[in-house]
Symmetry: C2
Subunit: 181 residues, 2 copies
């Protein structure tokens, strides 16, 4: 499966009203702390890959740790990537595995994330520490459906009163690293 994802800056207060107007459903809220790793054998900045440990703190329930690999862009306009993600039981052991293999923590991205269901898509409101407020609309589809899903996502953004031309293609990690410069 491929992740189709579009991201924009958006004021959350007005966006929540529009989500309510169009009948999108609130799903859940989580605090996410993402640690991105550098590889020992190639530069992920050059290859456009990412390796991440995500710690999620749901409003209710136990913390969850996930390991995620994101491959290079396969379709630049929609930021479509091959992605593999699994929950892991032992955060500390996973850090030990990566350290043993020579992967090193490079940067941390922290945010409050709220999920809504909107048609077949997930709409995500992100308040990112140090960066501000964003919205993402995303969906996983088979490779053959990527282009159609991207067009549909653009239509949904317009229904939310957003301008798809203002799409941001840089990751939060990239925005934070740029802000550090």
């Amino acid at each position: 499966m491929y992740e189709v994802e579009l991201k924009l800056r958006a004021d959350h207060e007005s966006l929540r009203e529009r989500l309510d107007d169009v009948g999108a459903n609130w799903v859940e809220h989580r605090r996410q702390v993402d640690t991105y790793y550098d590889a020992p054998h190639r530069s992920f900045a050059d290859t456009d890959e990412a390796l991440r440990i995500r710690r999620e703190e749901p409003a209710d329930g136990d913390d969850v740790t996930k390991l995620t690999y994101k491959g290079p862009l396969i379709e630049a306009a929609s930021k479509t990537r091959e992605e593999h993600e699994t929950a892991v039981n032992d955060d500390e052991a996973l850090q030990g595995v990566l350290a043993g293999l020579g992967f090193e923590p490079a940067a941390v991205v922290e945010k409050d994330r709220t999920y809504f269901d909107f048609d077949e898509y997930t709409v995500v409101l992100d308040a990112v520490d140090g960066l501000g407020e964003f919205v993402e609309i995303e969906r996983e589809v088979p490779e053959a459906e990527v282009e159609a899903a991207r067009e549909e996502a653009i239509g949904l953004l317009e229904r939310l009163g957003l301008d798809p031309d203002e799409q941001i293609r840089t990751s939060y990690l990239g925005l934070l690293l740029a802000a550090d410069d």
Copy 2:
């Protein structure tokens, strides 16, 4: 924590009687299928490390997938290594992460494994496909206790009627690769 582990060839039928005699307790039985990976950036054969996905099939209960990294030997006599292991929820996603990073499956070791508790140690009876019957005695200890734990493990092997001098320091993977030559 460091894993102290001693391994010998042993006939399981007679060993089960001795375990019963000394009061060791049967714990459980599992089928294990281990896939070992080659790294893209160094030769684990040269560095004496290992990266493994283990699929465990308990006699009762659901299959479990574990990711394990084993570092180089830190104490050759007892085969003591730094080890990091965590269960993961999605076997296929984990394979995707490793493939994306450039790690490739190199060899598979399959065995039937039976666990016994014996004092502070775990005694493991392994019937390895293509290799035969083995026993391992193992325990995790802090680094400062490694030498004392190794001495104690030798004493327990003698109580089981085994000769600690017959210790095998080659991994099942190494034995299988040697048998292939």
